[in-house]
Each structure stands twice: as C-alpha cells, then as structure tokens.
Amino acid sequence: MKNYKFPILSLAIIGVAMSFNSCKPKSVSNAVSGDAASKVYVAPGKYDEFYNFVSGGFSGQMSVYGLPSGRLLRVMPVFSVDPEKGWGYSEETKPMLNTSHGFVPWDDLHHVQLSKTNGDYDGRWVFGNANNTPRVARISLKTFRTEEIIELPNSAGNHSSPFITENTEYVVAGTRFSVPADNDKGDVPINTYKQNFKGYLSFISVGKEDGKMDIAFQLQCPGVNFDLSRAGKGVSHGWFFFSCYNTEQANTLLEVNASQKDKDFIMAVNWKKAEEYLKAGKGKKMPVKYAHNTYSDKTHSATSEIRTEVTVLDAKELKDICYFFPCPKSPHGCDVNPTGEYIVGSGKLAAIIPVFSFDKLIKAIAAKDFVGDFDGIPVLKYESVLYGEVKKPGLGPLHTEFDNKGNAYTSMFVSSEVVKWNIKDLKVVDRVPTFYSVGHLCVAGGDTKTPNAKYLVAYDKITKDRYLPTGPELSQSAQLFDISGDKMQMILDFPTIGEPHYAQIVPADLIKNNSLKIFKIEENKNPYVSMGEGATKVVRDKNRVDVYMTAIRSHLTPDNIEGIKMGDEVYFHVTNLEQDWDVPHGFAIKGATNGELLVMPGETQTLKWTPDKVGISPFYCSDFCSALHQEMQGYVRVSPAGSNVPLMFSTGKNMPLVGETNKK
C-alpha cells in the first residue's frame, strides 16, 4: 500500500509544477496538456482514422501505424529478410531479393511515397527506396506485400527516391553518391571525381493498371550529391526538383570539404521535355546489368530477371532539360507546396529558409537570366528565382510539409523543433519542441494537393530518456501533434522500429475496404499447389524430393513421411487450405538451416530442407491456429544414403508396413 502513495503524490507535484511552468515548454513532462489522452484514445475494437506508412530505415522494412493511437499494425518486409514471415527464406520469395550482385538480404529503406492520381493519394500502392544497393520497391495496398523491386544501374546511395509525379507517371531515383557509370572503367583514382564521376537520375515509369515498373530513361548529370527531390504539381506539373550538395565535388572529408560554398543548388528538371527528347530518339542505349523482380498473387511466387540495357539522356548535351538555381548551405529537403507554385529549400546549415517561385523560375529561364553554368548546366540567378526568405526560423531546417490553410511545417534538427510558418508572408506563427533532434516530419496528406491538416508526426533521430531504458540501444521515437488549431499541440509519444525517415499519412477509408482477406484457393496457380488433401503426394526425382503438403486446422497432410535419405534435398510445398481471414499456418522442421514458412489462406509456399542427421525429424505448425494447434505436427524419417526404406507418406493411419520396417 505504501508504495502506491509516493507515485500519486509525486504526480500531484508534477501537476502543480506544470501549471507554474506553462510558459517554458522545453521540459519533457509539461509539453503535453491535459486533454491529450482523449485525443489519441482509440477504444479497444475501434479503428484508427489514419494509416501511417513509415520507412523502416536500416531495418530495410516499412512499418504501418494507426493514427492517432500510434499502434503498430504491421511491419511489411521489403528489402531485408524477415524470418517471422518467411520473406527471403521461402523458395517463392527468394528471387525478390536478387540483384546484379546476387542475393542481398538487407538494405536501408529511407523514403515512403503513396501512389497519386491528380496529386492526391489513390490508395493503390506504396513505394520505398533502397539506399545502399539502389532499388525501388512497390508494395500492394491490397495485400500489404512487396510486389515488385527494380534495381537501378549507374547509381549509388539511392537517396532522392522514390518521389512521385502527380499521376504516378514516374517514380524517380537520384543517386546520392555520384560514381562512374557501371559500364565505364571504374578502376580510376578516387581523386578524379570531377572528370570521371557522374550523377544519374532514373525515371521509372509505372503501369497505369498493374503498377509495373520500368526504367523509362536515365538523366546523366554532373557529379554532385543528389539528396532529395519532389515532383512539381498543379502549375509546376511536368517538373521535378532535386536538392544537390557537394557542388564542391569533394571526394574526401565531405563534412568539411562539401561545406565550403555559401550556396549549393536545387536542380529543376523539365521531365516533359526529357520525354520529347526520348521520343525523338535522343537517348543513348547503355549496356548495364540490373535485376527486375516481380511477385505474383496468382502463382504465389516471384521471378527475377536480369536486364542489360538502359536509355540515357545527357543533360549537358540536351540543353533545356535541367537548370540549377542556387540554394544556401547544402540543401536537404526541397519541398513543393500544395498549389505547386512554391519550392521550399532547406539548407542543413542555413539560418534562413529560402522559398522559390515556380512562376519566377519559368520567367528566369525564358529570359536566360543565368549567372554562368556548372559542368555545362545553366545556373540561374538566386534573386531571380527567389520568392522570399523565412528569417530566423530556427537551426538546421531539414524537411517541410504543408497544411490546407497556407502554412508550412519545417523540421529543425539542430534546434530540435517543428516550426510552423505562413507561405505568403513568410512569418513564423508557431513552434514546438521535439524529443529529440527531429529529422523527418509528416502531415496527413502533407505532400498532396489537398492536405488534411489534422495531424503532424515528428520522427526523431535521438530518443534518450523518452521511454524506459533498454540498455544502450533504444527504440526510435516519434511524436504526434494535433495541428487543427492555431497552436500545435503534442498529444502522443510513440516508439517506432528503426529508423523512421519519411512517412505518409492517409485516411483509413481510402485503403481499409480494399484490403484482401484471403487468397482464393481456386485461383492458386503455384505449380506446387495441392488442390485439396486428396492431391497431396511425395515425389522423388533422384535426390530431389517434393512434398506436396496441405495445412488446415488442425493437421498437416501428409504428417508421416518415410524413405527420405541422407543426401536428399527436400522441398516442402505447403498449401494452406483455409479460406478464412487471419488463419495463416506456419511450417517449421527441426534443424532447418533456412527458416520457416508462414502461409496465408489459399497460398502455397515452399521450404527447402537438407536433412543432416539420420533419425526422426519432427515438423509442426508455428502459428497458433486453433484449440488443437499443439496437435498440428508430423514426423519425417531420415535413413542413411542408399537405404532401402521405401518412400511412404500418410495422415491419419499408420503405414501398412509398420511392423515390417520396425523389424529391419
């Protein structure tokens, strides 16, 4: 009893302290006001109002949260293997992680973009980028599964990606680390950066109906670091904007050497013009090697194809595609407001936020208002493109998103706050602290034509003392703000998987009703499907043994298998016969050096197993499925190589030869 009193008492003290300190919002405890809990409370059994798709950073995955509750709904495996879901372990999913370097089990997923129609989310797909081994993935929002991954040649550090045009015409992928082209002699001194290194921007077309991705063309640009990008929209539809740093073209100690110039660039790309050149045959075919992987919901398996050619447009040669305009101090975010008129540059080291005007940009290009060129690309005059500067916004601006009332919200890494400012008069109207060192932020619909100004989430780079300590490594930290009023109000702190970079917030109504519940077993075209228990079998072809197995509550068929021998390679093709929502079955076998399967209703997945010991190996269902889940198991008998134990399989009956084989 005594123990209870102290916390209550201290709570009361904090409560009192809060009212005294209300003018000092920096303290950890008092940044939350009294009604916050009711604003984020989603009663048990009720749904959240929004989905929040969040990049998983160096986990390589993408996570899905509900807002405003901050509940983690799912982690979708994308670029990294996921033993829980068999992703990258089952024979069917392995090809999804194939690249020109072979099977790559990990990557770093930075940015998340939902597909758009007319500049608004259409709820069909979500895209993610792989930063390390450059790739872009497309995830279906019907199945919440990765359906397609395309690799990007001539690229390294795929960072300004996967940003999207207003009708999902293109997903772009700009290289952060310029490199010599894949086909060039790459064996050059590193300090020949200026001569030999180039920046390639890939424009990936997206099939209108099926979403299929294809590299339509690459733009060959000067060697700098292409950092982030956003598509134009509305008035600026047809243009793309890329922030560039390291215009010093340094190749060592970039921390110092890429921070020399007062201004770097934002590059404006007229992609409609690029399309014209492409049509006119101005592209050059370049030999390359990249993987294109697709997953089919019909065959429940992936195929990987290596492609060998890409079309390249030279931005230096084809004069009127690319223009640079100066932007202070190593710009990071370059974000476009809902009308498409304003482009906000965020210089990581700048003390102002410059806002550029698309109208002025077009006029300056027409007037050839150039101050010179950079490696053959014209550079416009800063003042000729500038709409105005936000003065003293804070320190270290990184990213900006927008609401539907003419406000912009910029994350300030160094001063650890979110700053709200008005786009028209460029005045700061509100600021709130974040905990700590906010990187990305996200407003509901904040990069669309029609944002929903209800919530903002700040994704922080440092967690420190926000949650119970868990040793040196802590979960990542995010804060939810109610931005519906004049003042931003922090209403929730929630941990996330590592590391959240960009995210998107979309109304649940756009997605939840299209979510698939089961795969129809009638439509299962996996070559190893068992259409019903009667179709199960075990087939030997030399040392390859295919087990066609079914799972249904609560047995696996066959569940007694004999006649497997050392030296065999056994493929368990498990078909889940269930046709009911949320009844996956798992499959695991003792000693498997591979992983497990998780098989959705109506799906077939395959686990390869190479027995390494003579004896009995049990297998079982690893996902609790029913009252008799514990009974969902079976045995494989492994005999020495060359043994004469016949191949036998059954369920629910002891094998006819039981007495005889026992004697042997």
Binding site: G45, I518, K520, I521, E522, M531, G532, E533, G534, A535, T550, I552, R553, S554, H555, T557, L577, E578, Q579, D580, W581, D582, V583, F624, C625, S626, A627, L628, H629, E631, G652
Partner: protein, 161 residues
C-alpha cells in the same frame, strides 16, 4: 478402435483448455461476425430449422442433378472440405457427412456453410457439434452457387438418385 479412444480423450482435455482460454481464431471470428452483420441479435426470432443467413427457403427437386453434384465434389468438397470431413458416418475433424441431409433442412445446411461463424455462435445444433469436435469450422468462403452444388453432392452421398 484404439485411435478413436485416443482422439476422444484428447478432445475432452481440450474442452477444459478451450473453455477457460479461448483461442485466437475464435476471438477474431466472433469480432468479425459482430462487425460484419449489424443485423445480428435483432428482434427476429431465431429459427433453428432454417438457421441464420441469407437462405430462407431452399427447395430441392426430388431427383438429383448429377452434373451439379459432380461439380460440388470436384470444385469444393475435394479442395475445401475433405481435409476434415469423411463421406461416411465417421468423424474426422468434423462430423462425417453420411445422413447430413436428413438431419438438417437444405436452408440450414446452406446457411451453415456460408455463414459459419454466426451459426456457430447462435445455433444450438452447431454449438452441440462444437462441443464434440472442439474445432470451429472455418468459413471456407463459398459462393452461393458452390454452396448449392455441395448440397447436391451431400444429397448424392445420402443416396438421392
């Protein structure tokens, strides 16, 4: 004989476990049933002969539709039912199918196989079966046509010519 004894003793143990815990599938199913059918628990009197679901009066002709019965076997029984149901009276996971068409009305059967969760939650006969089998029959997502075809196959199995 030995096998049957083992199975039934297993079931009686499982009965106690299930009674206090409740399993994952059970809880999700009942939640789904509540969400999907706002009409559930309405004022209408429950008719245990007809069951709960979209089928009111299902009339079947005296003679068997051989083609339909074959379809029901091939497309549905073999793929979605045979893992748990035998065509004899013997119980496997669920009860054997022999005699099912004389124990239940056609509408009850079609409601049960298309609206399984709600029927298990409501219907006394279905609940009695659950106490014996202890595995909630999964909804196998049958179309109306598939359900009708399976019924025809059940009739064939029960000797209708």
């Amino acid at each position: 004989m030995k096998k049957i004894i083992t199975i039934s003793s297993l079931f009686s143990i499982a009965l106690f476990i299930a009674a206090c815990g409740g399993d994952k599938s059970e809880s999700t199913q009942s939640a789904a049933a509540v969400n999907e059918s706002p009409a559930a628990g309405g004022v209408e009197q429950y008719d245990p002969k007809r069951g709960e679901g979209k089928f009111k009066d299902v009339t079947v002709p005296e003679k068997l539709d051989e083609t339909m019965a074959e379809e029901g076997k091939k497309n549905t029984f073999d793929v979605k039912c045979s893992a748990c149901h035998k065509l004899t009276e013997e119980k496997l996971v669920g009860p054997g199918w022999k005699g099912v068409t004389s124990r239940y009305q056609p509408a009850w059967i079609m409601n049960f196989i298309t609206n399984t969760d709600e029927m298990i939650n409501k219907d006394p006969a279905a609940q009695a079966q659950l106490e014996i089998c202890l595995v909630r029959m999964p909804n196998q997502s049958l179309t109306d046509e598939a359900a009708r075809a399976v019924l025809e196959f059940m009739r064939k199995n029960d000797g209708v010519k």
